[in-house]
Subunit: 255 residues, 2 copies
């Protein structure tokens, strides 16, 4: 009657241990130290045993990247829930949370958000992990966008309440076609993730705004993590704050 056999339990536990130790190695010593042999050593088993769980080292790294996104999502979700103020404050809190997470977890950020292969929240995953062949085909959703869901969950209410933009952003004509596509994708994502988002709130302007928010948030954060400012910037946090303020102003959400 028990849905999960003893074997499955053990397997799941070992799998968790593998990823736990892999993550630890990543954090402590960097991506190239995440070695099948090192992981096995810490687990007290031998390296080839890991092939019962993952097809290859790369496969494991991809999974790690997903885990990282999920953990980050959970953390941001908590951050968000801890804010009692208006919706805009929540959005800001999430952005600040993303930044400070990235700065304190540079190696995890690099793996999940700056790896060319296109894992993380990208959309090129082959989705062929080692698992029971028939089980859990329940999430055919595009990809592991746990994280998008967090952002959507906090931006959604903001969209719903006050999009009385004093200055609608004047979307360039040749962008409208592409944006309606994204709009479709977004509404679908909101549905699958059960996010309260009145369809009329997801205007083209809103979609455009979200894209620009993400591009600038990501850009500023990556710039800081990789220290690629053209000259020394000791006041990066203040720069970030001014970017947030500017974003809020542009969205017509301030005052």
């Amino acid at each position: 009657m028990n849905g999960v056999t003893r074997r499955e339990q053990l397997r799941a536990a070992t799998d968790l241990d593998i990823r736990r130790h892999a993550r630890e190695l990543l954090v402590r010593e960097g991506q190239e130290a995440v070695t099948l042999r090192a992981i096995a050593r810490e687990l007290g088993i031998t390296a080839p045993a890991l092939y019962r769980y993952y097809d290859s080292r790369e496969d494991l790294l991809n999974r790690l990247s997903e885990d990282i996104c999920d953990d980050l999502s959970a953390e941001l979700n908590e951050t968000m829930c801890g804010i009692e103020d208006d919706h805009l404050s929540k959005v800001f809190a999430v952005c600040r949370g993303f930044r400070s997470w990235a700065l304190t977890h540079p190696r995890e950020f690099t793996l999940a958000f700056a790896t060319p292969g296109g894992n993380g929240s990208g959309h090129t995953g082959a989705d062929a992990r080692k698992s029971d062949s028939t089980a859990t085909p329940e999430k055919p959703a595009t990809h592991s966008d746990e994280l998008s869901s967090v952002f959507l969950g906090v931006v959604g209410p903001l969209m719903a309440e006050g999009p009385d933009n004093p200055q609608p952003p004047r979307i360039p004509e040749e962008l409208r076609a592409g944006l309606t596509n994204s709009q479709r994708e977004l509404t679908a994502a909101c549905e699958t993730h059960g996010i309260e988002m009145p369809p009329e709130a997801l205007s083209l302007e809103a979609v455009y705004m979200m894209l620009r928010w993400w591009a600038r948030l990501y850009g500023q954060v990556a710039l800081e993590v990789f220290e690629k400012f053209p000259f020394d910037v000791s006041h990066a946090d203040r720069l970030f704050e001014s970017m947030l303020e500017e974003l809020g102003r542009e969205a017509g959400l301030y005052r």
Copy 2:
């Protein structure tokens, strides 16, 4: 009498060959394929010989990263010179050039602009390569900012001519201190690189603008290279164009 001996000639030639083949491997097969043994194989020598030229594989990769920046700089410089229009058009051309270079050279972009160690245009280089101990101590400049020079060279004239910003960007008070620092660094950089930049043109507002330009340019480009848009964006080029336009408008440079 000859300033360069035959030995030095050969050494320089071999060094160039090393980097040429390393670069080729990077482009063709990715960073982890840039192997001392592979390089040596293609050169027809043995791997330990490479240690006569570089302290380690990492050292070589750092040098590669610098080469990439320099090549990109040269390419952008050419792009810029090919534009005969006003200064703003040149700035746009350089930005577009940077983007299309990144998209066509993703692996080089990743190595030079998204490597956590902080090589490339960062400012943490230990600067201890294998070279004649006493020669060429002539560039104690902060770092290898060949690239910054290109951007400065194209932004400078723009600053010099028309900073009649209809809307000066209202720099947040707590940013001014840090920005004056950057301002100092920038004027110094202009001097060392011989860039025509009237000191009064490099206002705090101008420095602030340049930082924001770079952050957004870098962010958008990295986002595209790593395919980390939250949903499929097929119209990325148009998005990029609209970002440029927006930047121009914000700088008070448009109409």
